[in-house]
């Protein structure tokens, strides 16, 4: 068996300037090529987990460990994690006026290549065009400023495009489906499916509040997070049960220590 992609053990974390842990002992293992859905009510700690994995400076890990391909992820800066192969698709991607998507992505690709190994402009443009064709995106998209004045759907498509170009080993998708109408949801789901199909080893942690996206992106595992811990794990049938019964039946497990 290959080394797991991501191992999270008894992870506790809090907002930097706060005293109370939001994550209260998270355990999770993601193998290469698997899609994990992480569900749970608002405030259960799903987005916090995504940000902690990505290395957001606003959060502090108080105990536990996170291994990425066997390496201690918590010792790495956010940019090092990205270059190592971790990708976070943001729930609310930042807008960067004045910087085109093409320029931004070329800088990101070159940051991976290191000094003297930079991809030349034409080779990069070819790669970008190829990825955009794969995701059925219009060429003009790349000349727009990063997320500047984008609709919710466009922002999420831009996240998927970045994921396609940067080719991570692990993609953490933080509520990528929230705020999307059904058309946008299908387009984004198609993008994610295209990428998992193209890279059989790509591991995905799909964080979502709703079951809706799981009708399009089929997870191998479903987990439920409540009160800062994963309280239930299973297959797609778990998502169906949550859809039918809500989260109440798990309150007891969540309250337990």
């Amino acid at each position: 068996m290959a080394q797991p992609l991501l191992v999270i053990r008894d992870l506790h974390a809090k907002v930097e300037d706060d005293d109370i842990d939001i994550l209260k002992g998270v355990d999770l293992v993601v193998e290469p090529g698997n899609v994990h859905a992480l569900m749970g009510p608002n405030g259960s700690g799903k987005s916090t987990l995504a940000k902690v994995i990505a290395g957001h400076p606003g959060y502090e890990v108080t105990s536990g460990e996170v291994l990425f391909q066997g390496e201690n992820l918590l010792e790495m800066e956010a940019d090092e994690r990205s270059r190592a192969g971790v990708f976070l698709a943001f729930q609310y991607p930042a807008e960067i006026p004045g910087v085109t998507i093409a320029n931004f992505l070329r800088t990101a690709v070159n940051a991976r290549a290191g000094k003297g190994e930079e991809t030349d402009v034409f080779a990069f443009q070819a790669t970008l065009a190829e990825k955009m064709a794969l995701l059925k995106m219009d060429d003009s998209f790349a000349t727009r400023y990063v997320n500047d004045g984008f609709s919710g759907g466009e922002k999420k498509r831009n996240e998927v495009l970045q994921m396609a170009v940067l080719e991570p080993a692990l993609a953490v998708m933080d509520e990528t489906d929230s705020g999307l109408d059904i058309d946008a949801l299908q387009i984004v789901s198609h993008g994610v499916n295209t990428l998992t199909k193209a890279d059989k080893d790509l591991g995905v942690l799909l964080i979502t509040h709703y079951k809706r996206i799981l009708n399009y992106v089929k997870p191998d595992f479903v987990h439920v997070m409540m009160n800062g811990r994963i309280v239930e794990s299973g297959g797609t049938e778990l998502a169906d049960k949550l859809e039918a019964q809500g989260y109440d039946w798990l309150q007891e497990a969540a309250a337990g220590v």
Binding site: D79, R81, F87, F90, I96, F104, A111, L166
Partner: protein, 431 residues
């Protein structure tokens, strides 16, 4: 200048008598004027008391100049797009001028100021020698006139349009040099002119002084784009004073880009002299190490129904500093004025420092004027977003600076001009 004998210097120049007369008068005024001190509002943030003017040697015109293009100039030309002509000034002297023969045939004149003094005496009298500098600029303006060995006139006659810019270069070869040059751009009624004034030198292991003046004059309905792209090496102190005059319906865009040198000060004075005239004033600067940039601006509305719009943006890192001091002045009769002034500063380090001083002096009552200045840091959310895509902190900062500058670049009408400036900024920022 203790060792400097103005009489000997002036006597060695072969130029029309009117020029010599103005030169002598300027020297007299220079000698009488006090050096600017930090006590004045205009010089409070830029201390030139330590600049030892005596140690600089004004270039003498005796030795022959190499008319071949210097390597650094050739390099820029190779990277640049179309142009209508070239002017090269080496250590303050005109070494090379060329102009598209079709434009020459259409009556466009591109020549040294010395030549212009003979061929266009009246125009020089009116557009250059008649300029009355502000009290704050008197000292350096008169010094630049007294020691003027370089400079050019671009004259575009009625209705003639330049489709590509004149690309002018000023190079400084080594420490100890003082250069005094001037750009006189005169666009007649309905004509169109574009100029890039590029200042360059290697990094010097001593100080050099660059004195520059520009007079940009647009007659009725003329269009002018003027860019001063300052990318001197370290060691150079650069002082530029620019007078812009817009007659009825003239559309003038001026763009000051400061990237190089140790100290770089530009005073940009725009005068709206005719109804319907429009002066777009743009500037960008990016300072690192201990670089200091100073921009002083005046939007002077002397005529009604004119418009001026100023957008100056600067980014600083390390221990660099900058000051922006801008004045909008609206005369009593200048009703229906539209005047806007915006200065934005981005600080990338704790050691960098920016000062912004916007001012309004409005004597008319039916006007639309606004001014605003901001000094801020990099946005945390933008920074994390870029880091999460694998950019190092420095790469992320530089990309954000580039995005911050884009708004100003986007306002330059001519593609070739925009690209030249973009390239120079990329080179400085190191993206």
């Amino acid at each position: 200048m203790t060792q400097f004998d103005f009489g000997v210097f002036a006597g060695g120049l072969s130029e029309p008598e009117t020029f010599t007369t103005h030169r002598a008068r300027a020297w007299e005024r220079y000698s009488d004027a006090p050096f600017p001190t930090k006590k004045s509002e205009e010089w409070r943030y830029t201390d030139i008391s330590k600049v030892d003017f005596d140690t600089f040697v004004a270039v003498t015109p005796t030795e022959a100049l190499d008319a071949n293009l210097p390597a650094d100039v050739q390099e820029v030309l190779d990277q640049s797009g179309e142009r209508s002509g070239i002017v090269v000034q080496r250590d303050g002297r005109v070494a090379h001028i060329e102009l598209d023969p079709k434009l020459a045939a259409a009556g466009v004149v591109l020549c040294s100021l010395q030549q212009a003094a003979a061929s266009h005496a009246e125009l020089l009298e009116r557009a250059l020698f008649a300029v009355t500098p502000t009290a704050a600029e008197e000292k350096l303006w008169t010094l630049h006139l007294a020691l003027l060995t370089g400079g050019y006139l671009l004259y575009v006659p009625k209705g003639v349009e330049l489709s590509a810019p004149i690309h002018s270069f000023r190079t400084i070869s080594g420490p100890g040099v003082l250069t005094a040059t001037h750009s006189l751009v005169y666009a007649e009624t309905g004509s169109k002119a574009a100029v890039i004034d590029e200042f360059l030198s290697p990094d010097l292991d001593g100080e050099a002084l660059s004195l520059h003046g520009a007079t940009i004059h647009g007659d009725a309905n003329a269009k002018i784009e003027y860019v001063a792209l300052q990318r001197y090496g370290r060691g150079v102190k650069h002082f530029s004073t620019q007078y812009i005059a817009a007659q009825r319906d003239a559309q003038l865009v001026t763009f000051n880009v400061a990237l190089g040198g140790d100290v770089s000060r530009s005073e940009v004075n725009s005068r709206l002299l005719g109804p319907g005239s429009n002066s777009e004033m743009l500037a960008l600067w990016f300072g690192d190490s201990k670089q200091h940039f100073d921009h002083q601006t005046l939007q002077h509305h002397a005529a009604p129904s004119a418009r001026s719009d100023l957008l100056f943006k600067g980014a600083l890192t390390d221990n660099a500093s900058s000051v922006f001091r801008g004045v909008i002045r609206v005369d009593v009769g200048a009703q229906l004025t539209d005047a806007y002034q915006t200065n934005r500063n981005l600080l990338l380090s704790k050691g960098s420092h920016a000062t912004a001083l916007p001012n309004l002096e409005i004597k008319a009552d039916d006007v639309r004027c606004s001014h605003g200045a901001t000094i801020g840091q990099v946005d945390d959310d933008q920074m994390f977003y870029l880091l999460s895509r694998g950019l190092t902190r420095q790469q992320a900062e530089r990309l954000l600076v580039f995005g911050f500058f884009d708004e100003v670049l986007g306002r330059m009408p001519m593609e070739g001009v925009r690209e030249r400036v973009r390239h120079a900024i990329e080179e400085k920022i190191g993206l």
